[in-house]
Amino acid sequence: MSDDDLAFSSIRTLGRLLRDGTTSPVELTTFYLQRLHRIAEPLNAVSTVTEEVALREARLAEAELRDGLDRGPLHGIPYGLKDVVSAVGAPTTWGAFPDQQFTQEATVVRRLRDAGAVLVAKLATIELAGGMGYDHPDAAVTGAPHNPWDTSRWTSGSSSGPAAAVGAAAVPFAIGSDTAGSILLPAAFTGTAGLRATYGRVSRFGAMTLCWTLDRLGPLCRSADDCGLVLEAIAGPDPQDPSSLSVPYRYTGRPVRSRGFRIGVLEGAGEGAEPAVTANFASSLAALAELGTVEEVALPDLPYAAVADVIIGAEAYAALDDFIAAGRTSELTAAKAHGHRLAGAVLPAHDYLRAQRIRRIITTRLDELAGGFDALVAPSLGITATPVTDRFAYMLPGAAGQPLNLAGVLAGSPTVSVLNGLDGDGLPTGIQLAGSRLQENAVLDAARSLEERSGTARLRPDGPRGTARQGTPGAPPPSDPGRGDQGRHRAGPTTTGGRP
C-alpha cells in the first residue's frame, strides 16, 4: 500500500491495519503529523499542530490496544479539530485571536479521547466562524484556505481547515461546526463527506457560540460511513449543554440498509446550477433509483432565508455583544466584518421572536415532508469551488441547494453532503441528503449506498493542479496536493455559500 493509499483509507480500514499490526497508533500519528506539515500547512488549513498531545495520546492508544483494551472504531485514529472548539494544551483562536486559550476542554474532545482518537491538529476556521460577515476567503489569521483539488480555489467556509485537511488526507477525519452551512458547503467544495446531525445530538460545550439555537458540531470525513462512526463517538447527552438531547445514538451494531430507499428529490433541484453539477446530480438520481424509489417533491414555500438571517443577526449580536458594542469588530481581517453585525443592535426583539415562531412552522412542515422519505436530496451547492482570490456575496441564497440546506438548518434535522462526481476541471460536486430529526441512520445508509454504487468516495485529488484519479491499491503515490504552482483560474460565479 502506498503512502497515499494509506492516507486516504477509511476509518474502518485504518482500524483493521492498526489491529493486524500493519501499522501502530504512534506510526499512524507520526505519518499524519508529517502530512499536516507537508501538505495541510501550505494549504493554510492548520492553526496549530498538536504534536506533543498527539504523540502522548498515540502512545496511550498503542499500549491499550497491545494490552487488549479496545475502545472501538476510533481507537488510535488521528483527527483534527476546527479551531472554534477548545482543547487543553493548545490555543483556541476562533480564527482571530492567536493567543486565546481556555482551561476547559470541549465535551466533544473528551468524548473523542474516551473513544481512543488522537488529536493531531487544531484546524483553520474563518474568523469567528464567519459569523461577523466576510466576503473574501482571506478572512482568518491563517490566511486564505486553499482547496486540495486545485490550490487556486478555496474551500468555502467556515469549516475551511477541516475540509481542506480531510480533503488532502492530512487527517482521517475532523470536527467542524455549522450554523447555516459551515459543514455542508465546505464538504461540497472539497469532495469530503460532512454531517450536520440533529440539533442537540452533539454537545457544543467548549465551542464558540455564534447562534445558540442553530449552532451544531459535526464530522467531516472521507465517506458517509466514517461520519456515522464519528457521530456515534461524539453524540449523547451532556449536562453542560442545555440543548443536548437525552436520546442515545448508535451507528454500529444495527442492521444496515443498502436497498429499498425512498428518496424525495426537490422540484427544480438542479435548476440554475452549473452544468456539471446538474449532470452529476442526474447520475446520482439514476443510481438512487436503482437502490429504491425516487419521486419529486416540493419544498414548502416558506421564508427560509429571511428567518435564518433574522435569527442569526439577533443571536450573533447577543452572543458577542461586548465584542461588537466595544467596536472590536474593526480588529478582524475582513473589512465587511467591521460593520456587518452592528445592525443587530437595532433588530427588535419581536422580530426575532416572529422569526422563531415561523421557524417552528418550518420545522413542522419539514418533519411532515421528510418523514415520508429516507432522504430528501438536492445538489449541496450549484457551483464548484471558486477562485481563492474572488470576492463573493455573503448571506445570499445564491446557488442551487440552499433552500434545502436552510430548511435543514432551521428544522434542526440531519443532513449529509457527499461527493458525487467531478466537473470538467476535476473539481468536486456534492449531493446533500436530508432527513427527519433523529433519522441520521436512514440518511447515512442512503448516502453510503450511493457512494458504493457510484464509486465516488474513491475519488481523490491528485497533484497540484487537482487532476483527480481513482484510488487504486498499489498505484504509485501522486504528488502532494498542496504543492506546486497556483493552478488554473477559471471564470465562474462569484456567489458562494459563505454562510457561517
Binding site: G133, G200, T213, P237, D238, P239, P242, S243, S244, L245, S246, D301, L302, P303, A305, A306, V307, D309, V310, G313, A325, G327, S330, A335, K336, H338, G339, H340, R341, L342, A343, A345, V346, L347, P348, D351, L353, R354, A355, Q356, R357, I358, R359, R360, I361, T363, T364, M395, L410
Partner: protein, 83 residues
C-alpha cells in the same frame, strides 16, 4: 397547533419611503452607540445590513401567525429524562 401561512398578515407594511426613513434613523441610533465614531466603510456596511434586515422582517410580517404560534425554543426535558 400551527396555523401560519404566507400573505394573510394585517401587520402594517412600510412604504418604500418610510422604510428608507426608518433605515436612516436606525443607522443613526447605531452611530450614537459608538461615540468613538464609525468609519465610512462601517457605515456603508451597516446601512446595507439595516436595509436587508428591514426587508427580511418586512417579509416575515407578511406571514400570518396565530396568537398561539410559539417560538421554536422551549426548555428541553432534563438530560437523562424526568426524575
Amino acid at each position: 397547533m400551527t396555523t401560519g401561512s404566507a400573505g394573510g398578515s394585517s401587520y402594517p407594511a412600510l412604504t418604500q419611503s418610510s422604510r428608507a426613513a426608518v433605515a436612516a434613523r436606525l443607522v443613526e441610533i447605531v452611530t450614537l452607540r459608538h461615540p468613538e465614531g464609525l468609519t465610512q466603510g462601517q457605515l456603508d456596511e451597516l446601512t446595507v445590513v439595516v436595509e436587508a434586515q428591514l426587508s427580511a422582517t418586512e417579509l416575515l410580517h407578511r406571514f400570518d401567525l396565530a396568537n398561539g404560534d410559539e417560538p421554536a425554543f422551549t426548555l428541553p426535558p432534563p438530560v437523562g429524562g424526568v426524575r
